[in-house]
Point group: C2
Chain length 155, copies 2
DNA sequence: TACTAAATGCAATACATTTGCAAAAACTCG
DNA sequence: CGAGTTTTTGCAAATGTATTGCATTTAGTA
């Protein structure tokens, strides 16, 4: 059960209008579900939650359009599965400001968007970086609390 | 054709022995092919090159075992496909020192292992990072040279 | 309210990866 | 060196994630 303090307050209807997207039941539901938690949610998890209301293909299409518009950002986990989280207000179709650090818990597999800003990297001559993706792997706060005496058991 | 200076000199037979792995034709071929270039190679590319000599499933198994042993490291590209590169000598089964920056070219899709060391990140309270993965996306040296006057065409 | 364009659902397909199992190859010990 | 044991390989089938084509439905609008 998500902590209320984690809840990102968004207005799906307004967000859709701002981005020139039609208002549909499915699109609103996806936004509602993703906004429940700041922790990124994977496509399979979303499908598990919404699969009875929304067709799998529709879900993929909505997620893609949201990413294109800069509403969601996509983080690949270590298995190559897409995870999604609400973008900060600064994101737009033209440019994703997805420059914060992600934390991928190797125990519960959740992906957190940390407040830590990704450091600027100096590229070698000839390489022009446009965006940077920084993900730390380890044990998250919750998993550290749950098994303080036996955290080695899982790894 | 790979530049000779890119060629990582490894001894497949010795490497297998060091890691307690049986010496098979397939395992040697995979090491040879990956050592040809410092640029990471994707599973599909490897399969294209080796598919007539090695079964697809065997290739997957070899790549997994090499990653487990710390011989190769795996980098996920933006499509969630696995890419592999030779680990530095410091890597072992117990711990991957995969702390350099990767550069994923959005034009040719190649993944480079840069000499740039990934910066240390300060984690929030309760989060314990074990490894960090930093990938920069942009246009690589070669692609910048190839189309200096019209680099916007592909993106 | 009827029209038009866009979004949805369904079926089929593509692609990466894994699993089960029998056949083949690699170490090893007498 | 050759039989025996174990590991690895190849093939077939299955799983999981994501995309495409097309007919139907729905949203926004005139």
């Amino acid at each position: 059960m998500p902590n209320l303090s984690d809840m990102t307050t968004i207005n799906p209807t307004a967000l859709l209008k701002e981005n020139g997207l039609k208002h549909t039941r499915q699109r609103v539901r996806v936004l509602e579900e993703i906004a429940l938690d700041t922790v990124a949610i994977s496509q399979p998890e979303l499908e598990k939650k919404l699969g009875k209301e929304i067709d799998r293909v529709t879900l993929y299409r909505i997620l893609n359009i949201y990413q294109d518009k800069g509403i969601l950002h996509r983080i690949m986990d270590m298995n190559g599965t897409a995870n999604y989280a609400i973008c900060s207000a600064a994101c737009s179709e033209d440019h994703h400001h997805d420059d914060h650090v992600h934390f991928n818990c190797t125990s519960c597999l959740k992906i957190y968007c940390l407040e830590v800003k990704a450091p600027h990297l100096k590229m070698p001559h000839g390489f022009k970086a446009v965006t940077t993706n920084t993900t730390a792997y380890g044990i998250c706060e919750k998993c550290n609390q749950q098994e303080p005496e036996d955290s080695a058991a899982l790894q």
